[in-house]
C-alpha cells in the first residue's frame, strides 16, 4: 500500500464506478474461494493457474497464492516458465514494489535450465530508469549479477551511467561502494595490477570480505567523485561518497602502548580502540611466567575503554636492582606488545601523495569559484590532514573560521572538530620531540579527545580555552603529575579519578561552584598543590576550612 497512486473521479461517475467495483469484488471473492477449494483438494492444473493469475493481477501481495502457483509450476512443463516471466512483467508494471512478485521472478529465473540473464538485467535497467531508488529492483539486480557472473567492472560502468545522469542518486553511489572492494580489493602485497575480474572464483560476499579498496583504484575513484561535486557542489551524495573514500584506511586493532610503574607496581595498557579487557583474553607475562591479575577499566563508567589497568602482586618488580621482562598478550587478536613506546602512523606512498596533492589543488580551484561552499571547505580540510597535518595547520584554522561563518548553525560541530585536529597535531609534535609534556593552551578548544594517546604524559597545559569539563576519559592520563587548566569554563571534574601520580592542579578562573564538585580529588593520593582562585566555590562561607577537611594532604591551597 505504500506509495500507490490513487485516481480521482468526478461525482457523476461515482455511482457507475461503485456498481463496477461491487461486481469486481464479487468476482474476486468467488475466485478466491474457488482457489482455496482447489488447493485443499490438491489440484494442480491450468484452471488454478488462471484463477490465481486473475487474483494476483489485482493483489500481487497475496503470498499464499504465489506459493500455490509455485506448487503448480513444479508439476507442469518447464515451458510454462516463459509465460510466467511475461506475467510477472505485467505484475511489476502494476506494482514495482511487491515483495511477492520480485521473489517469485527470482525463483522462476533460477529454475530455468538456460536463464536469459541479459533479459533480466534489461528488466532491471528499465525498472531503475522509472524509479532509481527501488530497492527491490536493486536487490534483484544483485542476485542476477551474482548468478550470471556479470563482470563487476561492467556493473561499475552501469553505475557510471546512472551517476552521470543523476548525481543525487544515492542508491547508485551505494551500489558502487559495494562493487569497488570486490573489483579492487586491498592486498597486503605492494600494488600489483589490480584488475582481477572475479569469474574464476565465486565472488566473495560483502560480509566475509574486507571493505577496503586498493590504493591505485581509490585514487582513480577520487577523480570520478570530483566530477560529481564540481557539477553540483551542493549535492550531498557525492560529498558523502567522497568522505567514505577518504576514510578507507582503517587503523589496525592493536595494543598501542604499555606502561609499567615500578613504584606503584601497576601496569597500564592502551589499545587502538575501546575494548572490554575482562572478556577479551588479555594476558600478562612477567619474566616468562603468566601472572594472574585483575584488569580494571580506567573509570567505572566504561565497560569498554581504550586504557586498562592492573595491579601486580606486591613485591614482584619493586626491587630496583634486578631487570625484568614484561609482555602483554591480547590473545583475541593474536598480538602482543612489550613495554615500549609505539607510534603507529601509516605513511602515504609517494604516488598517493602526489595524487592527493592534485585533489587538493582541484578542490582549491572549486573554492575560488564557490568560496562559501561548506562541503568544499570541509573536504579541503580533510585532504590537508591526510597530506600534512602539521604543515597545513595555519590554513586549516583559517578554513575553520570561514566554515563557522558560512555554516553558523554547525559552528559548535566545527569548534569540536577543530579541537580534535589541534589535539592531534599537538600529539604529533609531542611524539616527534619525544617529550612527555603536552601543551594545548589558547587553542579555542571546545572539547577534549584522543586522551587514550596521552597515557605517558606527565605535564599537561589546557589553559585559556573553552572547556566545560574534564570528562571521565581524562582518567586515562595515568602518568600525569601536573595539570594546568586555568581560564576555561570548567564546572565538572569527573576525569580526575584515581590519578596516582597527580601532584599539582591549577584551575584558576573556572566555574567550579560546589564543594561536591571537588569530591573526586580525594582519590588522588599524591595531590599537594591546588589553585582554585577565581572560581565561584571560593565565595562559599568557611570554604578554607571545608577544603582543608576534605583534602588534608593538600598543603599548598590557593583560594
Amino acid at each position: 500500500q505504500h506509495g500507490r497512486v490513487k485516481l480521482k473521479s468526478t461525482a457523476q461517475q461515482e455511482e457507475e464506478k461503485r456498481k463496477e467495483r461491487e461486481k469486481k469484488l464479487k468476482i474476486y471473492v468467488a475466485a478466491r474461494d474457488a482457489i482455496f477449494t482447489k488447493r485443499m483438494e490438491g489440484v494442480l492444473d491450468d484452471e488454478a493457474l488462471q484463477l490465481t493469475q486473475q487474483l494476483l493481477s489485482s493483489n500481487p501481495d497475496f503470498a499464499t497464492l504465489w506459493n500455490y502457483r509455485r506448487e503448480i509450476l513444479l508439476h507442469l512443463e518447464t515451458k510454462m516458465y516463459e509465460a510466467e516471466l511475461l506475467f510477472l512483467e505485467s505484475c511489476l508494471k502494476v506494482n514495482p514494489k511487491s515483495y511477492g512478485s520480485w521473489h517469485h521472478r527470482g525463483w522462476v529465473s533460477a529454475r530455468l535450465p538456460r536463464p536469459d540473464w541479459a533479459r533480466e538485467l534489461g528488466l532491471c535497467d528499465r525498472c531503475l530508469s522509472l524509479d532509481d531508488r527501488n530497492f527491490h529492483c536493486w536487490d534483484y539486480r544483485r542476485m542476477v549479477v551474482k548468478m550470471s557472473g556479470v563482470p563487476v567492472d561492467q556493473e561499475l560502468q552501469f553505475t557510471d551511467r546512472l551517476i552521470g545522469s543523476n548525481f543525487s542518486n544515492y542508491s547508485s553511489w551505494h551500489y558502487r561502494s559495494t562493487l569497488l572492494p570486490l573489483l579492487h580489493p586491498e592486498s597486503p602485497d605492494p600494488p600489483s595490477p589490480c584488475h582481477q575480474p572475479s569469474h574464476s572464483s565465486p565472488p566473495p560476499s560483502p560480509q566475509t570480505h574486507s571493505h577496503r579498496v586498493c590504493e591505485e583504484q581509490l585514487l582513480k575513484e577520487y577523480e570520478l567523485v570530483q566530477n560529481a561535486f564540481f557539477t553540483d557542489p551542493n549535492d550531498q551524495s557525492a560529498w558523502f561518497y567522497y568522505r567514505w573514500l577518504l576514510g578507507r584506511a582503517e587503523r589496525e586493532e592493536m595494543i598501542s602502548c604499555v606502561f609499567v610503574s615500578r613504584e606503584e607496581e601497576r601496569v597500564a595498557v592502551a589499545f587502538s580502540r575501546p575494548v572490554n579487557a575482562s572478556s577479551s583474553g588479555l594476558m600478562l607475562v612477567l619474566d616468562g611466567q603468566p601472572q594472574r591479575v585483575e584488569w580494571r577499566s580506567v573509570h567505572p563508567h566504561f565497560r569498554h575503554s581504550p586504557v586498562w589497568i592492573c595491579a601486580l602482586p606486591p613485591g614482584t618488580i619493586s626491587d630496583i636492582i634486578n631487570e625484568h621482562n614484561l609482555t602483554v598478550h591480547w590473545t583475541e587478536k593474536h598480538t602482543h606488545r612489550d613495554s615500549s613506546f609505539l607510534s603507529g602512523r601509516s605513511e602515504l606512498s609517494v604516488e598517493k601523495t602526489s595524487v592527493l596533492q592534485s585533489e587538493l589543488q582541484s578542490c582549491n580551484q572549486l573554492l575560488e569559484l564557490e568560496p562559501q561552499n561548506k562541503w568544499c571547505l570541509l573536504t579541503i580540510v580533510l585532504l590537508m590532514r591526510a597530506l600534512d597535518p602539521l604543515g597545513y595547520e595555519r590554513e586549516t584554522l583559517s578554513h575553520f573560521q570561514t566554515l563557522k561563518e558560512v555554516d553558523s548553525m554547525r559552528s559548535a560541530y566545527y569548534g569540536d572538530l577543530c579541537s580534535k585536529f589541534m589535539i592531534e597535531n599537538t600529539i604529533l609534535k609531542m611524539e616527534y620531540a619525544e617529550v612527555r609534556v603536552f601543551s594545548l593552551s589558547d587553542k579555542n578548544l571546545t572539547m577534549l579527545c584522543h586522551l587514550d594517546q596521552l597515557l605517558l604524559v606527565t605535564h599537561i597545559n589546557l589553559s585559556c580555552n573553552q572547556l566545560l569539563r574534564l570528562p571521565p576519559q581524562f582518567a586515562m592520563l595515568q602518568c600525569l603529575e601536573v595539570l594546568e587548566a586555568d581560564d576555561n569554563a570548567i564546572e565538572n571534574l569527573d576525569g580526575l579519578y584515581y590519578l596516582p601520580k597527580l601532584q599539582e592542579v591549577s584551575l584558576k578562573n573556572n566555574q567550579i561552584s560546589k564543594l561536591s564538585d571537588l569530591q573526586l580529588l580525594t582519590s588522588c593520593p599524591k595531590l599537594t598543590c591546588l589553585d582554585l582562585r577565581g572560581n565561584p566555590v571560593t565565595q562559599i562561607a568557611n570554604i578554607q576550612s571545608e577544603l582543608t577537611e576534605l583534602l588534608p594532604s593538600v598543603t599548598d591551597l590557593l583560594i
Binding site: 500500500q1 493483489n59 503470498a63 506459493n67 521473489h103 536487490d139 543525487s168 551505494h174
Partner: protein, 434 residues
C-alpha cells in the same frame, strides 16, 4: 510536563530558511523535494491565517491551536473495523494487519473497544491461524510472519483470556523453526523471501508469548548486525541501503534479544537523526527521499530504543527530558500536514488516508509527546492538552500495560518443547491443508 500553545516552530521567522537549496542545478530528486516543501508551505500559511484572526471568544482561541481531530479519527477507525471498501482488496492478504492498525490507533486515542467487537476480532483472528502454526493474511491462507506479528499484537491489545487462548503456542514455535535459516535469518513464510522484518516479527511474538528456546535465535544477532552498513542505518538484507522501516525492525529485534550493543549505536544514532527533515519536521525513510508520516514511527521510534541502549552502556550525558530528535517539529508536521479532515491520517498533504498511516502517524505522535518510562516521565504536548495520546511501548508498539499483562499471563505457562527441526529450504513449499 510541558504544553506548547505557542509559538509554533513552523511560524518562526527562520523556518523558511530551512528549505532545500539546489544551487540552480535541478535533478529529479531536488524537483520532487521542492514540490513537497511548497505544499507544506501552503498548509502552514493557511494555519497562519487562522492563527492571526483575533481571538475574541474562547472558542476561537482553541481553534487556532493545532488540534488532533479525535472524533473524526475515531469514527473512521470504528467503521473500518467492521467494513472496508473494495479499495482494500490489495490488503486481502494482510487482514490481521488491519486489525492491529485499527486497534492500536484506538488504544492510542484511549477509546475503548466494546466487548462484543473485541470478541469478534478474536474469532476472526482464530480463523486466520494456520493448522500448522502461525497466522496468515486471511482464512485458508499460508502462515506468514508479518500477519503473525500483527495478530499477536492485536490479541494482546484486546488482552482478554479469550484473546490469549486463541494462540496455539506449540504450533507457533514449530512455525518459527520452520522459517528459520541456517545463517540466523528467517524467511517471511515457507517458500518466501528473507529480510530483517522477519527477525523482528519472530522475536516480538516469541517474547510476548513466552516460547523462546535457547536455539531459536541462534546466529540471528550476527545476521542482523551484517545488515548495518556504512551509513549507520540497516538495510533489508546485507548489502542494501539503510532504510527506516528495516532499521527499526533490526534494532527492536536486537533489543528484544538483549544484543543491541553489537550494533554501532553511535553511527545508527547519527544516521537516524539526519533523517528528520529540516523544513517539514517529519522524517524521510532514506537519504535524499521525501518526508512521509509513517516514518514518524519507524524513524523517530528508534530514538527511545537508542536512548535506553546508550544509557545501559554507561553514557551519563543523555538528556533526562527529551529524545534526541526535534519533538515539537514532528508533532507540528503530523498535526498540521498529516490529518484528513474527515478522519484518518496520511503520508503527506495530497495523499489519501489509510489505516496504515493512521496507525503509524499516531504512534509517532505518541513517541514525540512522551519521554521516559515508568519511573521518569516528561511530556511535551504541542497544541491543546486534549491532543495527548496514550504512551506506547517502544519495542512492541502497543500500550505498555498490555505488554506487561500479556507477558505476565504467558510466563505462567511453560515454554513448549520444539517438535520440528529448523531450516526448511526456501524452495520447499508444503501444502497447508491435508
Amino acid at each position: 510536563m510541558e504544553s506548547v500553545s505557542s509559538p509554533l516552530r513552523c511560524f518562526g521567522e527562520c523556518h523558511t530558511a530551512e528549505k532545500y537549496t539546489d544551487d540552480g542545478v535541478e535533478t529529479v530528486t531536488s524537483v520532487e523535494q521542492r514540490k513537497v516543501e511548497r505544499s507544506i508551505q501552503e498548509v502552514v500559511s493557511v494555519y497562519k491565517q487562522i492563527h492571526s484572526l483575533p481571538h475574541t471568544t474562547a472558542v476561537f482561541a482553541t481553534m487556532t491551536e493545532p488540534t488532533l481531530l479525535r472524533d473524526q479519527h475515531y469514527q473512521y477507525l470504528k467503521k473500518g473495523l467492521r467494513h472496508l471498501s473494495d479499495a482494500y482488496e490489495c490488503l486481502d492478504a494482510s487482514r490481521p494487519w488491519l486489525c492491529y492498525w485499527i486497534l492500536h490507533s484506538l488504544e492510542l486515542l484511549e477509546e475503548p473497544v466494546p466487548t462484543a467487537i473485541a470478541s469478534d476480532v478474536c474469532k476472526f483472528l482464530a480463523r486466520c491461524q494456520s493448522p500448522t502454526g502461525g497466522f496468515a493474511g486471511g482464512p485458508c491462507q499460508a502462515a506468514h510472519l508479518a500477519p503473525t506479528y500483527a495478530a499477536v499484537n492485536a490479541l494482546c491489545i484486546i488482552g482478554t483470556q479469550e484473546a490469549y487462548n486463541i494462540i496455539d503456542r506449540e504450533k507457533l514455535l514449530s512455525f518459527l523453526f520452520s522459517v528459520k535459516q541456517p545463517d540466523g535469518s528467517f524467511v517471511m513464510h515457507i517458500g518466501g523471501e528473507v529480510d530483517v522484518r522477519s527477525t523482528y516479527c519472530a522475536a516480538s511474538v516469541a517474547s510476548l508469548t513466552n516460547i523462546m528456546t535457547p536455539t531459536l535465535f541462534q546466529d540471528t544477532p550476527t545476521w542482523i548486525v551484517s545488515c548495518q552498513n556504512w551509513e549507520g542505518g540497516l538495510g533489508g538484507v546485507p548489502g542494501l541501503e539503510a532504510h527506516g522501516g528495516y532499521t527499526f525492525c533490526g534494532m527492536a529485534a536486537m533489543v528484544i534479544l538483549g544484543k543491541e550493543h553489537m550494533l554501532d549505536l553511535k553511527s545508527l544514532l547519527r544516521w537516524v537523526a539526519s533523517r528528520q527533515m529540516r523544513y517539514e519536521g517529519g522524517f524521510q525513510g532514506r537519504c535524499n527521499k521525501l518526508v512521509d508520516g509513517c516514518y514518524s514511527f519507524w524513524q523517530a521510534g528508534l530514538l527511545p530504543l537508542l536512548h535506553r541502549a546508550l544509557f545501559k552502556g554507561g553514557d551519563s550525558t543523555l538528556s533526562l527530558q527529551k529524545w534526541m530528535f526535534e519533538q515539537q517539529a514532528l508533532q507540528e508536521y503530523i498535526l498540521l500536514c498529516c490529518q484528513n479532515p474527515a478522519g484518518g491520517l496520511l503520508d503527506k498533504p495530497g495523499k489519501s488516508r489509510d489505516f496504515y498511516h493512521t496507525c503509524y502517524c499516531l504512534s509517532g505522535l505518541s513517541v514525540a509527546q512522551h519521554f521516559g518510562n515508568m519511573d521518569l516521565h516528561h511530556e511535551l504536548i504541542v497544541g491543546r492538552e486534549e491532543n495527548r495520546l496514550a504512551p506506547s511501548h517502544p519495542v512492541y508498539n502497543i500500550c505498555p500495560e498490555k505488554v506487561a499483562q500479556a507477558i505476565q499471563h504467558f510466563h505462567q505457562l511453560p515454554v513448549p518443547v520444539p517438535a520440528q527441526k529448523e531450516g526448511s529450504s526456501a524452495c520447499n513449499t508444503t501444502t497447508d491443508h491435508s
